[in-house]
Structure formats: structure tokens, C-alpha cells
């Protein structure tokens, strides 16, 4: 048995364990969702997979409640939740349907809801383009499914899956890793809590216990915990960490708490990942929202002119290729 992940190196294994321990709610939600998907995938079974459906629903709810950040209730937020919920549910239905026609319809649901998300992201042209192109592509695909798959009734291959367990495991690892990276980048809550503890510390020993690493003895000039803090903070705040370091090196408690409190306030004020506000009067190069079509057209035909031409050539080549591959008569379809 060969494991793909080499954890013979002890430090690498420890890093992996830390990652799992620090972000266990994310991993647990991803595991619940992927276990549910494993149960829902078409397989030879006798009863309907009701519990797997409940598992997937619970995972979607948990992910929506815990990981999607929100500031208050807005119509945009309601729309975001509705569109993203329907998109993910459509994706899961596409995996779970054994009838290919129903699966193609579920994919249409995914595309429609992603188009809704595009609209929320102030990309109306892209929404229209995706809708038109994918609607055309899906209708053609749909005709193919009906023409090919329905000629001999439902095939037994559609009622089975290839390696469902390994595929769900791969999905779990990828989903957990992606969510971990996102949470590590955009979630400041653990950092804020740590800074809060430092800011309210009564003595240096308390701080040393908080940063309880061997090097945290009073008098040590640098700390691994401070490096970790610097990595966790966004780049806008990195320049304030040296103040904290200097205060620790001097073992100056008032300066330390003051620096930590200042850093905490700044980090709390920073709206990390906040999308740009609608700006109707901004010049064309800057805004996405106002004058979307005009700005997109200008960008396409000035800065990206060569790629546009190349895309045109690519479309031509693909059309000729498709005709050359599929256009042979004589053998007939049947």
C-alpha cells in the first residue's frame, strides 16, 4: 500500500496535524458533505439514500451558517444565499441523478444560479453571455443525451459510479484544503482573540504562557508566536508587528499591551475581503459596476486585443475540427 502523502518526515506530519486541529470545524463539515455525497452517488442499492441526503443538507447549512461572513441583513445577502444554495444543490443533484436527462437539467440549474451570482457581483454582461452560450450548449447537450442515451433505454452504467469512495475522499481532501486556505487568509477572529488576550494581560508571565513556546522565556528577543502572528495578519498590518516585537524585547508590559490593543483595533476596523462599493462616477478603468459593458468592451479591445483575436481563431479551429471529426456520413448514427 503506497500512501500519496509522505508523512515520514516528522515536521511535515506535525504541520498536517496542526492544520487539522486548528480548522477542525471546516474539516468536519467537508467530511460530512463528502460522506453524504458518497451515499448519494448512484450505486447498486435497494433503498433510497435518505440519510445521505440529510447529511449533505446539514453540511450545506453548517457551511452557510459558519463560514459565510455577514454584516447585517441585506437584500443582496438573501439573494446570495438563495443563489449559492441552489447552485450547490444543483451540483449535488447532478452527481446523484442516475437518469442523464435529469442530470443535464440539474446542470442547467447550476448555470442559472451562477449567472445570478454574476449579477450580484456586478457583471451583467457576463451574466447575459454565460446564459446565452451555456443555454445554447446545454440545449445541444440535452438533445445529444436524448438522442444517444435514450435510444436503448436507461443504461446500467448510469446506475453505477466509478470508485465512489476514492472520489469522495479526494473531494473531501480538496474541499477541506481549499476552505482551510480561505479561512486562514480571510478569517481574523483567532488573531483578534489572541491580540485581545495580550492587550488585557496583567503581567509578562501571562503573555509568556500565552505564547508558550520554549523560546518564550522572558528575555528572549524573538518569538515564533510573533512570526505566526505576522503570517496570520494581512499585509496592511504587517508594519505594526515590529512595535509589538520591540516591546517584547524590552519586556515593557505597558508598551506591549498598548501595541497589542492598537493592532487589535486596526485589525477589527479592517474589512477584509470587502467588495468594492458601487461607484457610478468613477472613470472607466476603475469601476466594475457602472458602465460594465462599455468598460468591458474598451478593456477587451485595447489591452486584450491579441487574446481576442486568438480566441476568434480558436473558435474557427474548433468549428472546423468538430465538423471534421463528426461530419462523416456513410456510417450513419446507428
Amino acid at each position: 500500500m503506497v500512501f500519496f502523502l509522505d508523512i515520514t518526515d516528522a515536521s511535515r506530519g506535525a504541520a498536517l496535524l496542526t492544520l487539522v486541529r486548528d480548522f477542525w470545524p471546516l474539516w468536519a463539515t467537508a467530511a460530512l458533505g463528502c460522506a453524504g455525497i458518497y451515499g448519494l452517488l448512484p450505486q447498486a442499492r435497494t433503498s433510497k439514500p435518505i440519510w445521505a441526503g440529510f447529511g449533505v443538507a446539514a453540511a450545506i447549512l453548517l457551511a452557510g451558517l459558519w463560514f459565510v461572513r455577514q454584516d447585517g441583513v441585506w437584500p443582496e445577502q438573501v439573494l446570495f444565499y438563495a443563489f449559492s444554495f441552489l447552485a450547490v444543490v444543483g451540483g449535488i443533484l447532478m452527481l446523484a441523478q442516475s437518469n442523464p436527462v435529469h442530470a443535464a437539467l440539474s446542470f442547467a440549474l447550476v448555470v442559472l444560479n451562477v449567472c445570478g451570482l454574476f449579477l450580484l457581483l456586478a457583471a451583467p454582461f457576463l451574466m447575459a453571455a454565460t446564459l446565452i452560450i451555456y443555454a445554447g450548449a446545454i440545449v445541444v447537450t440535452f438533445l445529444f443525451v436524448i438522442m444517444l442515451a435514450q435510444q436503448a433505454g436507461l443504461a446500467s452504467a448510469d446506475a453505477r459510479s466509478r470508485e465512489p469512495f476514492l472520489a469522495s475522499l479526494a473531494g473531501f481532501v480538496l474541499l477541506g484544503a481549499l476552505w482551510c486556505a480561505l479561512d486562514k487568509t480571510y478569517n481574523l477572529t483567532p488573531v483578534l482573540r489572541e491580540l485581545d488576550l495580550v492587550a488585557s494581560a496583567k503581567s509578562l508571565d501571562e503573555v509568556a504562557k500565552l505564547w508558550s513556546e520554549p523560546a518564550a522565556k522572558p528575555g528572549a528577543r524573538t518569538l515564533p508566536a510573533l512570526d505566526r502572528l505576522k503570517n496570520a495578519l494581512p499585509r496592511e498590518l504587517e508594519y505594526d508587528v515590529p512595535e509589538l516585537e520591540k516591546a517584547w524585547a524590552k519586556q515593557d508590559l505597558p508598551a506591549l499591551t498598548k501595541a497589542a490593543a492598537r493592532l487589535r483595533d486596526q485589525a477589527a476596523k479592517l474589512k477584509l475581503g470587502a467588495l468594492k462599493p458601487r461607484d457610478r462616477d468613477a472613470p472607466v478603468e476603475a469601476p466594475v459596476t457602472a458602465q460594465n459593458v462599455a468598460g468591458l468592451g474598451r478593456t477587451l479591445f485595447t489591452r486584450y486585443l491579441v487574446p481576442v483575436e486568438l480566441a476568434g481563431v480558436l473558435l474557427l479551429v474548433a468549428t472546423i475540427g468538430a465538423i471534421a471529426i463528426a461530419g462523416r456520413r456513410g456510417e450513419g448514427l446507428r
Binding site: 446570495f80 452527481l95 457583471a123 480538496l174 462599493p277
Partner: protein, 143 residues
């Protein structure tokens, strides 16, 4: 300030990408594998458009437009290839093409038998309601 943050869109995009990947790995219908790949592209496109809005820069939307273009080319070629494969084997099952893999790999055999398909529901038997109307013995002339 928009109430929905960048990371929310990225989380949804990641979920769509993973769903597409699992679908591509598990489904055995050629057309559904193709649709799963398209779903992965949808997740990526969502990421790009979200970053485009976050940076206030149209580059992400332009790149998404190119993704849609390449996806259209891919759809044309993929459907033509699927049609070719269907002509050879008269089936969309991708496992019929497993001799294309490395020779030392064991072939996949469907082991578990499928449950028997449910019997079609019998047609409802409608009882005659009311007395049978009188039939005219022969068509009378309309003239």
C-alpha cells in the same frame, strides 16, 4: 460597502469546483463527465468574477469571457468526439473504453447486481359511468 464578502463567493466557488471534480471522477456517462468539467469551470469563473469585483478591475471578467469561449470550443470538440465514440460502441459508458488504459491495470468489472427495475404501474381501469348512450344505427345524411 457590500454586505457579502469576497470569501463567501470563494467558498461557493470551491464547493462547485469540488462537486465538478467528484462528478468527473465518478460518473460513467461521457456526456455527464463533460458537464462535470463544465461545472468546474463555473466554479473557477465565479472566483475570477469575485476577484474582479474585489479589486475593482475588469481583468477577471475578461478572463472569464475567455474561459467561456474556450468552454464553447471544448463543447463542440467534445460532443463530436462523443458522437464518434458512440458510433463505435453504441453506448455512452466510458468503461467500455478501458482497454485504452495501461495494460497492467486490472479491468473494472461490475460486481454488485443492480436491483431489478420496478414494474411499470398497471394502467388504471376506469369503470363505466352512467348508461351507455344510444348509438345511431347508421349515419344519417347531412344533406
Amino acid at each position: 460597502m457590500s454586505p457579502v464578502n469576497l470569501q463567501s463567493y470563494l467558498i461557493v466557488g470551491a464547493a462547485l469546483f469540488v462537486l465538478g471534480m467528484v462528478g468527473f471522477l465518478t460518473r460513467r456517462n461521457l456526456i455527464l463527465m463533460f458537464l462535470s468539467a463544465e461545472m468546474m469551470l463555473q466554479g473557477v469563473a465565479l472566483n475570477l468574477v469575485a476577484f474582479s469585483r474585489y479589486h475593482g478591475n475588469l481583468g477577471g471578467q475578461v478572463l472569464t469571457l475567455f474561459i467561456v469561449t474556450v468552454a464553447a470550443c471544448e463543447a463542440a470538440i467534445a460532443l463530436a468526439l462523443i458522437l464518434m465514440l458512440y458510433r463505435r460502441r453504441k453506448s455512452l459508458d466510458v468503461s467500455l473504453w478501458q482497454e485504452l488504459r495501461e495494460p497492467e491495470l486490472e479491468p473494472i468489472v461490475d460486481e454488485a447486481p443492480l436491483p431489478p427495475a420496478p414494474l411499470p404501474e398497471p394502467m388504471p381501469h376506469l369503470t363505466v359511468a352512467g348508461p351507455e348512450p344510444m348509438h345511431p344505427a347508421e349515419e344519417t345524411s347531412h344533406v
